[in-house]
Amino acid sequence: MLKRIAYTVLAILFVTVFLGIDKSFAASAEENYKWYCSQCHGLKGDGKGINATPDQPVNPKNHTDTAEMAKLSVSDVENVIRDGGAATSKSTMMPPFGKALSDAEIKDLVTHLKKLCKCSFK
């Protein structure tokens, strides 16, 4: 009986660890931010990424704008990262990253954004 429990626990651990590794390309939320988000939001998070060209229909959000960012809730931020602007009544220029990032990585990005905006979300 004990043996069976031990095997089950080991199997769950194995699956969790390996599935986790398979999904994540980054070592940290900072790395994910730099890789994905910075393309539009800039390496400093000021909204001045290389895709923020003058002809774009919207400007990427400035993640260092404390007052603006503080208006958002944790679920607003999680939803917009996962499902993109379209799914949250915002611009479709913000693409969905829910298939590129795991839920845990999205939660870690929210924590990273709190540091960038020096704010806590609602």
Binding site: F25, C40, N51, T53
Partner: protein, 225 residues
């Protein structure tokens, strides 16, 4: 009678020589292209033996140029030959960079080398790119909606709009994508990016766009010329 036999024997030999020369010529392109590719150290930047086994951003950052192990499934041969003779940046930014501009310093090949290397690269294909799925160059309204409204693809990919290049700069340019890319490749990449480019900056649309939307977007992109 003897003269006639001699004539036929001569004709037969000449005919065989023509056939052999033809076979040799059709083999010469890819084989010579491969040796030019090797001697010019193109493999220092481009992967030709797939699949790509990158697991992390760090793995991806080790590559200095785009993978070519599926070049024959991705590119159009005429475009490839022309580009190798006179390479112009496809990506506004340097490969794998969002900080440095593309230096535009890709080596130029002579006419014969470009043709041979293109022949060779066209032999490199991926089983994950099915042929004949997308009808290249045919207008597609649904694809336009996906590209411009459902998703903002031009947020990262430069495109031509009203005679002006607009859009983002982090992705490869789509200004003349219809001359460069096979629609079947675009569709296969959207459907199963992991099989072709496992680590990338582009979001994954598998499970977000449906199959028809992916085909439509791929077809629409092939109308950019």
């Amino acid at each position: 009678m003897k003269g006639i036999s001699k004539f036929f024997a001569g004709a037969l030999i000449a005919f065989m020589l023509v056939i052999i020369a033809g076979v040799y010529q059709s083999e010469a392109g890819p084989a010579e292209g491969k040796s030019a590719f090797t001697s010019k150290n193109c493999g220092n930047c481009h992967l030709t033996a797939g699949p790509n086994t990158d697991k992390t951003f760090a793995d991806k950052l080790k590559h200095k140029g785009p993978d070519l192990w599926f070049a024959g499934s991705k590119f159009k041969k005429d475009w490839l030959t022309g580009w190798l003779k006179d390479p112009k940046p496809i990506r506004p930014m340097g490969y794998n960079s969002i900080e440095k501009k593309n230096p535009g310093n890709h080596p130029k090949l002579s006419g014969k080398e470009a043709a041979d290397v293109a022949e060779y690269l066209m032999t490199l294909t991926s089983k994950d790119v099915a042929k004949g799925v997308v009808e290249d160059g045919k207008p597609n309204i649904q694809g336009k909606i996906v590209f411009e409204k459902t998703q903002g693809c031009y947020g990262c990919h430069p495109v031509m709009k009203a005679g002006k290049v607009v859009g983002g700069l982090s992705g490869p340019s789509f200004v003349d994508a219809g001359k460069r890319l096979q629609g079947d490749f675009i569709y296969a990449y959207l459907k199963n990016p992991k099989a072709l480019i496992p680590v990338k900056r582009m979001p994954t649309y598998e499970g977000i766009l449906n199959d028809n939307q992916m085909k439509a977007a791929a077809q629409y992109i092939t109308t950019f010329k």
